[in-house]
Each structure stands twice: as C-alpha cells, then as structure tokens.
Symmetry: C2
Subunit: 117 residues, 2 copies
Amino acid sequence: MIIRIDPASATPIFEQLVRAVRGEILAGRLAAGERLPAARELADSLEVNGHTVLHAYQTLRDEGLVELRRGRGAVVTSAATELAELRRHAVDLVVAARERGITPDAVLALVREELSR
Amino acid sequence: MIIRIDPASATPIFEQLVRAVRGEILAGRLAAGERLPAARELADSLEVNGHTVLHAYQTLRDEGLVELRRGRGAVVTSAATELAELRRHAVDLVVAARERGITPDAVLALVREELSR
DNA sequence: ACCTATTTGTCCGTATGTATG
DNA sequence: CCATACATACGGACAAATAGG
C-alpha cells in the first residue's frame, strides 16, 4: 500500500491517512481480511508519530472499515468490502444516468423510491 | 459538576469521564446549551492529563451529546437533552410495567408494536 | 479594525499496560 | 514464555477558531 503524506497541507495528517486508506478500501485494492501495516511501522516509514497513525486507524475503526486488535493489527472488515462493492454499483448508476442526461435529482428520487419499497 | 475518578480502576480514565458526563446529561442535570468545564481546566482539577479529558469530550462529541468548538468549549446539544427527556419516558414505562408485574418481553413487544405503527 | 485571552485541535515524544499469536 | 501491536496515559508545544474588549 502506497501512501503519501503532505506535512504542509492544511488537512491534518491523520485525516490524510484516513482518506488514503479509505480510498484503498473503497477502490477494492484492500479486501476483507487483509491487514494494514502496523501503526508504528507505517509511522516510521512516513516519518510521522505513531499516535497520528493510530488516531487514523481508530477513526477507520469508528467508521466500521477496519477491526483493531492488540497483537494482531488492523484488519479490513467484510462490511468494508461490501461497501466497496456497493460503491461500484453506485458508480454504474451515476455513469448510466449521465450518459442519458438524467438530472441528479431524478436519480436520487429513483433511488429513494427503490429504497422505500 | 462533580466528577470523581478512580485511577486504579480497570475502566480507563477517559471512559470514566465519558460515563460521568453522559450520566449528568441523561439525568437532566446538564441541559442543552450548558457548557462543560474547559478540558484542561477539568484535567487540572482531577489531576489527569489534558489529553485524557479531551479524549473523553471527543467521544461524547462522536455520540452527539456535545458540540466542541475552539475558543468556546464543550456545549451540550439539544439532541442530548431530548434524549434525556426520552429516557424519562422509558423509565416511567419500566416502572409502570414492574408495578403491574408485566414481563420484560411483553414490554418490549408493546414498544415494538407502537414503533411499527 | 485590532488585540488578547480562552479553548479545542493536532502533533510530537515517551512510557507502560495488555490481548494476540 | 516471548514477540507483536494496539490501548491508554503522561508531558510539552504550537496552531487555529472563538469571544470580548
């Protein structure tokens, strides 16, 4: 997993990490059961503090994307990969809508209708 | 607001703080708009680290019970007080059920029925 | 418009505890 | 029993938003 951090950015380092990992998961490049690098290890390689990475990992845990366990590390949850699969369908829907010149509101209305069935 | 912390307890300090403040809110002793003591101030008075109190406050924020703003502090949300009011009704319900010797399952079934209306 | 005090936000460093394997 | 890796807590520093004068 390749992550790049911009220490000069206005967005906090821990949030950059959250976005990077979340992106990897939602893009399907990190599947359920796969392990993230150990927090301190990643911290060392990025030259940031271990807490900063841990804070990011804990945020991802709060979002339900990873499971944290002492001695085992951070593991991508199955819910996360399911979310990634769901996202692919969402992308398909939006692409199809754009191809047909359908307005965003109409798309949302359609999805709402299906959800309320 | 009187909070007591047991440093020797197995439950983490920050969680003891979360429970204490949450309890105050749900008991109605802290109403919407009221401010919690400044994190570092409370930390000093309890002789714990400022980070520890801040961690507790941020947990409460994640639960939607307080709003945190730089320079303003931690303010109890209206959602929190509404939750407290809801809790009072729940207590009333349980008390009334116990007085009448109604089983917990029956109470839950009743509530479910009302919710599904 | 300016300045100052307050207070949370983030980050660094360090240390110890504790569940996992 | 031992290595790994997260969990918690301590301490210190500076940034950034808010409120008030």
